[in-house]
């Protein structure tokens, strides 16, 4: 899977947590790539493992978590087994992050300027030069009056502004890869759009790749070149955004899209849903992970785990019946 012009390639990654009742296999055999300058949306519902995946890439996993196998390569260099020191060199330089909650993501007792200077710890420039860079970056994210606002504390900014500051910080080092972990979830709709627009604009200028983690399908459609859909720790479908939206091949993807009121053109009082619940990730079912909730599931699905394959416009689909006609979803 590794291609030289891929910024990030995740190959067969498995991550598990030690819990009192057993090993919880949060991410299993996930593979995907992000090309240079590409924006990739990672989509999934609660508990699908997308955050674990993100934390694995950044190596910020909690203590109970362990990478069981697979590789995470940044331009060919394996992050999954890189020494801590090396990770520290990469983080904030070649890989940056924007987290979900803008209220808590910045240090409350340090000024924004101080934090933006701190993160340039690799640079040997003078403080004044670092500060000037910080001001310039704040201007680029359209913080009004950046010269004075830089000496403010995070709580003196509004939520939307704080998220912009976070984006400014993340992009200041002009990284190769920006990991954005639900950066717009906590924002109101109008701010969400503004933030997405800003991200897109900056991405075009800087040319970095973005891994955009969200549960909001519309945002992916809006922003991303490619989409990866996770369910219960597994990557069930991935491909170019337009292709996947037009013709999703995995039943889960199909159902997910069908449930989203935004995707339903005509007004209807009754909306579709996906019955059933997530499988137990400690005591995994045999076969396909989605079999328990899949209207199309057959005996084979319950015994044999499907291998990923290309189908329709999608590059990877983990379904035995990836080529079957799209499901009719009743409300």
């Amino acid at each position: 899977m590794t291609q030289t012009d891929d910024i990030l390639s995740v190959d067969g990654l498995s991550v598990s947590y030690a819990t009192p009742t057993g090993t919880l296999r949060a991410v299993r055999d996930v593979s995907f790539t992000i090309g240079r300058g590409e924006i990739v949306g990672l989509v999934g519902e609660s508990g699908c493992g997308k955050s674990t995946l993100m934390q694995s890439i950044l190596r910020l996993l909690p203590g109970a978590a362990r990478i069981e196998g697979g590789a995470i390569r940044l331009s060919g260099e394996d992050l999954a087994h890189a020494p801590k020191k090396r990770m520290r060199q990469l983080l904030g330089d070649r890989i940056s992050v924007v987290f979900q909650d803008p209220m808590e993501t910045l240090n409350p007792v340090l000024t924004v300027g101080r934090q933006m200077i701190d993160i340039q710890h690799r640079s040997r420039e003078s403080r004044a030069a670092k500060r000037a860079r910080a001001v310039a970056m704040l201007k680029r994210v359209k913080i009004p009056d950046a010269e004075t606002k830089i000496d403010s504390y995070p709580h003196e900014f509004s939520g939307g502004m704080r998220q912009r500051v976070a984006i400014a910080m993340a992009l200041m080092a002009e990284p190769d890869l920006l990991v954005a972990d639900e950066p717009t979830t906590a924002l109101d709709a109008t701010l969400e759009i503004a933030t997405i627009d800003l991200l897109r604009e900056l991405q075009e200028e800087i040319g970095c790749a973005i891994l955009f983690i969200t549960h909001h399908l519309g945002v992916v459609a809006e922003l991303c070149d490619r989409i990866d859909i996770m369910y219960a720790g597994a990557l069930v479908e991935s491909g170019p955004t337009m292709e996947v939206f037009r013709d999703p091949r995995h039943p889960y993807t199909q159902l997910l899209f069908a449930c989203d009121p935004a995707q339903i053109a005509e007004q209807r009082r009754h909306l579709p849903s996906i019955p059933g619940s997530l499988p137990d990730l400690i005591d995994l079912p045999q076969g396909c992970i989605f079999a328990g909730r899949c209207p199309r599931a057959e005996d084979r699905c319950r015994t044999e785990a499907p291998a990923p394959r290309a189908a329709g416009g999608s590059e990877q689909v983990r379904c035995h019946f990836a080529d079957a006609p799209r499901l009719e979803v009743p409300a």
Partner: protein, 314 residues
């Protein structure tokens, strides 16, 4: 910030006013004539009458309480019935010894407390963390006078390493004599300090902004000191502020066991001697001191924490 400061100050003053009123009521509630009690059985009636007049005991109660406030406002806490000296002067004369003791105890509490707290938090769940936790709660649980007696028994009487009594003269002598009482008084606060620091460090470490800092490749050391400790230390300041006040009065046990002069010994002797002006004066003094230290701690925190500063401004 200013308005917060004023508000906190106002609250502190209100608290002191209430404490004064409560003290007054207590004095008033003492069975018998306070002047007679103060002067002793053989006092002439004239003298009792004079003291009554001086204490304003013949006035109506509301007027007495106003007088009480008035004189306290002027720094007049009454007179020591035994020596006749102003109570404030008597207290101030005893203060240095107690402050030295509290200072020693703070040193005992803060340095190991912070070190243990940091070690505990950075090695969460390890054997050393568990050991520190158990030690912390243990030293907090055992009353300081029991510790004082055992220290005296072991280190003064049996081993003879430290003097048993007195405050001493000259730096080294004073320091030498401070060791055991400071330890007795401060030991519990090692626990308080370590625990609160550990808890607040863990809390801060779990906050999202620390993860952000990590995600920018800032070194663990730097994160620990600039990002975690800086915030985590704030609750510790509150606890130590409380500590100073509690130690000031808790010194009574260390002072008695180690035969030291000081505020605690003063009030204790005054209680035994029914020297009410000294008792109430000392209680009032320590209360004001306590309130003032806590106020100072709060203001310090407000000053150190821009969030509070900000909230207060709005």
């Amino acid at each position: 910030m200013l308005s917060y400061g004023l508000k906190r100050l106002g609250l502190s003053v209100a608290v002191v006013v209430i404490v004064i009123a409560a003290l007054f009521v207590m004095i008033y509630a003492v069975p018998g004539d306070p002047a007679r009690v103060a002067l002793g059985p053989r006092a002439s009636d004239a003298l009792v009458a004079e003291l009554r007049a001086r204490l304003g005991l013949d006035l109506p109660i509301w007027s007495q309480i106003l007088r009480f406030y008035g004189s306290i406002l002027q720094g007049d806490l009454g007179r020591d019935v035994i020596s006749g000296a102003p109570v404030l002067k008597v207290i101030l004369a005893q203060l240095p010894d107690t402050l030295r003791l509290v200072g020693g105890a703070m040193l005992v509490a803060v340095v190991p407390g912070i070190v243990l707290g940091v070690i505990s938090a950075t090695h969460r769940g390890s054997a050393i963390d568990r050991l520190t936790s158990v030690l912390s709660v243990s030293v907090m649980a055992v009353p300081s006078f029991v510790i004082a007696i055992y220290l005296l028994l072991i280190f003064s009487i049996n081993l003879g390493w430290f003097p048993a009594i007195g405050a001493g003269q000259g730096f080294w002598d004073v320091a030498h004599r401070l060791v055991l009482p400071s330890l007795a008084l401060g030991l519990a606060w090692i626990g308080y300090t370590a625990r609160i620091l550990r808890a607040s460090m863990l809390e801060v470490t779990g906050q999202s902004h620390v993860r952000t800092a990590r995600a920018f490749g800032i070194s663990d050391r730097r994160i620990m000191y600039d990002y975690v400790l800086r915030i985590a230390i704030l609750p510790t300041i509150t606890v130590l502020g409380l500590g100073i006040g509690q130690m000031l009065s808790g010194a009574v046990f260390a002072e008695i066991v180690f035969g030291r002069p000081g505020i605690g010994k003063l009030v204790y002797d005054a209680i035994l001697a029914r020297n009410y002006p000294v008792v109430t004066g000392t209680v009032l003094f320590t209360t004001v001191f306590f309130v003032a230290v806590n106020l100072a701690a709060d203001l310090l925190i407000a000053w150190l924490d821009p969030r509070v500063r900000h909230d207060l401004a709005h």
